[in-house]
Every structure is written in structure tokens, then in C-alpha cells.
Amino acid sequence: MKNHIKISILFLFVLMGCEDFLDIAPTAAVSSGNYFVDDQQLETGVIAMYDAIQGVNSTSTSDNHSIQYEFYITEMRSDNTRTKSSEGEAAQFESYTIQSTNGIVLDYYRSMYNVIYRANLVLENIDVASDANRDQFEGEAKFVRAYAYFNLVRLFGDVPLLDRVIGPEDEALSFTRTSTADVYSLITSDLQDAVAKLGKVSINRASKAAAQAMLAKVYLTQGTNYVEAQQLLEAIIGTEYSLEDDFRDVFYSESNDEVIFAIGYLPDLTSDSQNFSSEWLNAVGRTSGVNYVTTEAREALDNLGGARTQYSYRQDQRQPTEYQVVKYLPDGDESLGIPATSTDPTLAGNDWIVIRYADVLLMHVEAIMAGANETSSGSAISSFQQVRSRAGITTPVATITKEDLLNERRVELAFENHRWFDLVRLGVARDVLSAFSAANNYSFSDTDLLLPIPQAEINLSKGLLTQNPGY
């Protein structure tokens, strides 16, 4: 009996000691709880957000490839590109037979939430920032978070909305789909804040102009606030940004004045390079060739591209019946005067342009059109004409129809992941894609306008996360 009492007392001590023991911060390791002390660490957190957008250059299916895989779920779902050989899950996109188990869809979904997590982490620790840097860091984090949600909401519809760092106990939050309207309201308020707070550090980081252009696109996508959108765009027009004289230089003279926001990549470094450029070639990357140019896109470029056409697509020398994208070539093209960006094409250094000035000018036309079917406003025509003149098309126009605008965007921004969103935003996705699908024996239906919520996420949610119709 005596012994028992002694033992109990001993346990008591041990239990009491536990609390202090658990509270001790590790001294030999870094944890997220004690990492952020001042600007220096917070800036690494800011850089980490862009790192998440950049994605991992690998062929492993367990890595987040982020925007390196974006072309699959945007351009290859449009009438611009397809796989070369209709192989594997990549071919589900062109034929509109996407399965909820598609690994590329899952990869992108998780990548965007990784971006959001890193942005939320910066925002949660924003108090450690100095007064001089707080606005810039906060603006960048809000821009990045809005960017990720804008991609998610346009691709998946209602998605879980996380505006703070979550833990393992926040299951309901991480698997409950929030209405598109609520997601857009966070996107809008984040971008409004970003516009107010941001300056400019580099084109590879969020700037005021990038936030203005992004917010304008958000308004155009919602079909509201056209006047505000126009004001935002006019705040960029006529400032430090301008069209490159030579269309080729937009892509091959990096950090030029036309680029407003680009995801930066560095050549020949596994940690900072990209592999999408090599995947677009004939069996240079892991695939036999993806993002190959469709007959429809070639036709549009031949008819309307002007000087842009030769820098947009070319014949595949190894397989002359097929055509490749010329933008973002990793290994150059001597006949076009394009140098290689890296010694190893799978470790390409080409930056990915998210927003450029030509897009701003064409959005300006769209804002003035304000949902109507045409415009003959002088300032719309002036913006439209600037883009065309650079391509050597100088015939003046008196009116711009919605179709003119859509075609111009198609040939100006071909293979830059705009086409899908343009078709949806301008309300013609169903008409254009069902005609395209019928001509190519694909199986488009209206529910293909949203991607499936990845089955792996639904499984993890134990049924909380619901699937989109048609999957």
C-alpha cells in the first residue's frame, strides 16, 4: 500500500512537469511558430508564395507543379491546343472526357491551395514587418491569394474558402464549398487592398499595376463594375508600360516593358527552372508532346495573326503533320532568331507571363464594350489599334464587335492560357466549344465548363466535399 502511494505521487510530478516541457521552443530547429521575427524572415515567406506559384520542376506525380501544369487545364481544354498523340490522362482535356481522378487536375488544385496557405502564413505574421515594408508584403500576399482563388473559382466553381492558416481540426472549413459569389468577394477585397498598398519591386513580384489589371479582369469576369474596370486599366495605360516593337521580344527579351507580372524561372537550376517548355516539344520532355496547335488555332493565326503568326506556331520538324507553339521555346529556333534559354531544355528559364500590356489594352476595349455586342468608342478603337499595329495590321476599324475582340485576343494571346477564360467570360464557350467538339469528334457538354473536384479530395473529406454536376 505504501508503495502504491509513492508511485502515485511520482506520477503527479511527472504530469505537472509536462506542461512546461511542451512549451519550450526548439532551439536547434526552426518551426513556423517561432520563425517569423522581422522583415528578413517575412520576406522569405513572401518569396515562398511565388515559389509555390512557380511549382516544382519534376516529373514526380506527388509534387505540386502549379502553373507549369496550367496549360493542360486551360489551353488544352480550349480550341487552341491538344496532345500530339492523344495519350494518357493529358488527352482527357482536349476530348472533354476528364475524370475526377485525373492527376493533373488534382495537382493544380492542391498547388493553388498551397499558394493560398503560403499567402495566409504571410498575412498571419504581418505584424512582425517594419512600417516601411508592411504595406508591400501585405499587398503582395493579398494579390497572390486573390490570384490563386481567381484561378480556382473560374476552373472549379464553388471552392473551399480559407482566409487564414488552418490546422488539422478545421476539416469542415477545408472541405466545405463556398459560393462563387463569396469567393469573388474575398478576391475583390484582397485586390482592392493590394492596389492601395502595393508599389513595384520587380516584374516577378506583385505590383500596383498587376493588382489593377487583375482586379479589372475580375470585374470583367463578373460582368459588373465596367466603369471601375476601365478606370483601373486607364491607370496603367500611358505609364511605364508599353508594347514591344517586335512581338518576338515579348517572350525572348525577358523583363521587357510589356510585362506587368510574370512568374520568374532560371535556367539549368532544378530548384528554379520549369519543364512545360520542353513538354510542348516532340518527346523532349516526359510526354511525347503536349499543347500542340490545333487546325482551328492555325487557321485563326494565319488569317488574323499578321506578324505574330511566325512567333506563335511552327511546323514540328520531326513530325511535319504536327505544329508546335513557338512562344516559350527552351532550346531556341535559329531560323526565327530565337536563342536557347538553357542548356538542358527540361530545365528551362523562360518566365511565364501572367499579365502583359497587350492584355491590358484589349481588356480596355472589353471594359468600354461593357457587355454590349460592339463599340465604336474612340478610346476603345485606339487601344485595339495599338495591339494590331504592332502586328503590322494597320487597316483602321470603325467598330469593334465582340467577335473581333475575341479573335484579336485569340491571336495576340494564343497559348498564354487566356483562350479558355476568354470564351467563358465573353459568354461564347458553349457555342464555340460544342462546334469545335463536334468537328473533332470530342464529347463536349455544358458541364465540362467546370473541372471535376478531385476525387482524392472528396475521399479525404469523407463525403463532405461535393462533386460538380456531370462527373
Binding site: V227, I368, N373, S377, S379, K402, S445, D446, G470
Partner: protein
């Protein structure tokens, strides 16, 4: 002893299992309803409808049904379809009940109904900006009050004066004494990106050189320093041939990215009068 018993037990168990397998074969003789499981994934019907951009009578239907293989649409105007995502052109404006019946291969069905109202969307007509007290007349505000300049008061300068001679029309006009410290300012609604013409009449005294400047501003201003950045159009009137004869000015402007505009009237160096402002669409 235990080993033997176990063996015996096992063989009995085996016997039971075999028997049960054999007996379970009997189900082939059962009727389909008995012992068969119910449809675990019955269809759910749903759709959304979008009015066509160019033909307002046409609606595009998007099928949002689950677990169904065949569809029957009743558009409510007598037309039907079995397409997945059909379109229907309605005969006229009106209210129609659209019914979608979705069926699966087991013949289980679900229906979904929605009412759509086919209405020609109104193209909003361009706003004609409404200038209050445009002729500086007493009691000319919509509610029948006003001293002819109430709508023109502001914090940028002193309130303008009212004159009864000379006037261009009515019995009053605005007067800006030669000191140039009185300012007329008024904000109003406008349609964006629209071409307008502002018409007004002014006259200047001839004793000193000077001018009357009318400026059209995009949006409103809170300080005169913002004028330069907000100016859509401006005209500096310097015609001093006759102090009693009003000069007509037509000032064209495009409203640009603005849903409000303002008119700002100032004078420089000489007593000036302005009267009868109006805005109309260009052409």
C-alpha cells in the same frame, strides 16, 4: 482430445458453408424484385438556363443532372427535346415552365422544373445629364424652390451672383464679378464613354481683358488642384465684342470612364455672365 474435436467441428463448418453456397444458387429462380438491391444511384434532374446574347427569344439550357442517361425536355411552349444540352427559341415574350425528366437505365426518373421569363432585355438608353438650375431662374428646382444658384454652390469659391440684365433667355442669368473669386460647380450623372455636347451662352464686359472658362470634369473633385487631372473638355471664352450680346458655345466631350461628371465655371479678369446651359448627345 481438442484436436479431434476441432477437426470434427471444421468439417461440420465446411459442410455448412458448402450447403449455404449451394442453397444460395437458388436465387436464380427468384423473381427480379425479390432480393435484388434498389437503385443506389437514382438520377437527380437539374439544369440552368441562359438567355442568348443576340436573340433574346433563344434560351440555352445546361444539363446539370446526375446519374442519368436519357433526358426529356419540355420547354413549356409545346417544344420538346431529348438532347443533353438543348436550346429553344420561344415564340414570344412570356413566362414558361421548363420541365426536365432525367432517367437512368433502370427506368428510374427524376424531374426538375423551373420557370423562365422571356423578356427582351432593355438596352439602357444613354443618360442625358440633368443640369439643375441650368438657366439660373428662381424656383426652377424640381420641387419648385431655389434661388437660381443653389445647385451651383461649392467650397472652391464664393457663390455666384444672379443678374437680370442682360440675360440670354428667361429673366435671370449668372454673374461672375471681375475679381474672379466666385465659382459655379455642379455634379451630375452621366453614361460612360458617350459623346455629348455642352451648349451654353456667355458674355463679357469690355472694360478689361478677360475670359469665362467652362470646364467639364470626369467624376467629381474635392479640390481645385484636381481640375487638370479630371478635365474632359474646357473652353475659355474671350469674345468681348459686345457686353450685351451673348455668344453661343458648343463644347463637345466624351464622358470616358466616368458615371458622374461635373461642370465648373470660372472667370478671369473681367465681369462675366453665363446662361442657358444644356447637354445633349452628340450627332
Amino acid at each position: 482430445m481438442t484436436t479431434k474435436n476441432n477437426k470434427a467441428f471444421l468439417s461440420v463448418l465446411m459442410g455448412v458453408i458448402i450447403t449455404s453456397i449451394l442453397t444460395s444458387c437458388d436465387f436464380t429462380f427468384e423473381l427480379p424484385e425479390e432480393g435484388s438491391i434498389p437503385d443506389q444511384t437514382p438520377p437527380t434532374a437539374s439544369f440552368s438556363a441562359t438567355q442568348n446574347d443576340t436573340d433574346f427569344l433563344q434560351y440555352d439550357f445546361s444539363n446539370l443532372s446526375n446519374s442519368a442517361t436519357t433526358y426529356l425536355w419540355d420547354f413549356g411552349d409545346g417544344n420538346t427535346s431529348t438532347d443533353l444540352d438543348p436550346s429553344n427559341t420561344y415564340p414570344a415574350e412570356g413566362t414558361y415552365t421548363v420541365k426536365l425528366t432525367a432517367s437512368d437505365n433502370l427506368g428510374v426518373t427524376d424531374t426538375y422544373e423551373a420557370v423562365i421569363e422571356v423578356i427582351e432585355p432593355e438596352a439602357p438608353p444613354a443618360i442625358i445629364p440633368n443640369i439643375l438650375e441650368a438657366g439660373f431662374e428662381d424656383n426652377s428646382l424640381p420641387d419648385g424652390t431655389g434661388d437660381g444658384r443653389d445647385s451651383w454652390r461649392n467650397d472652391f469659391g464664393g457663390v455666384i451672383q444672379i443678374t437680370s440684365s442682360p440675360v440670354h433667355e428667361g429673366s435671370q442669368a449668372s454673374k461672375f464679378p471681375s475679381a474672379g473669386d466666385r465659382i459655379a460647380y455642379q455634379e451630375m450623372e452621366v453614361s460612360p464613354n458617350t459623346d455629348y455636347i455642352l451648349t451654353y451662352y456667355y458674355t463679357l464686359k469690355t472694360d478689361n481683358p478677360g475670359a469665362l472658362t467652362v470646364t467639364v470634369l470626369g467624376g467629381g473633385i474635392s479640390d481645385l488642384s484636381e481640375v487638370a487631372g479630371a478635365t474632359l473638355a474646357a473652353f475659355e471664352g474671350t469674345d468681348q465684342t459686345d457686353a450685351d450680346a451673348y455668344v453661343r458655345v458648343e463644347l463637345p466631350f466624351n464622358s470616358g470612364a466616368n458615371s458622374t461628371m461635373a461642370i465648373l465655371i470660372t472667370n478671369q479678369g473681367v465681369e462675366a455672365r453665363a446662361d442657358a446651359l444644356s447637354i445633349d448627345l452628340a450627332q
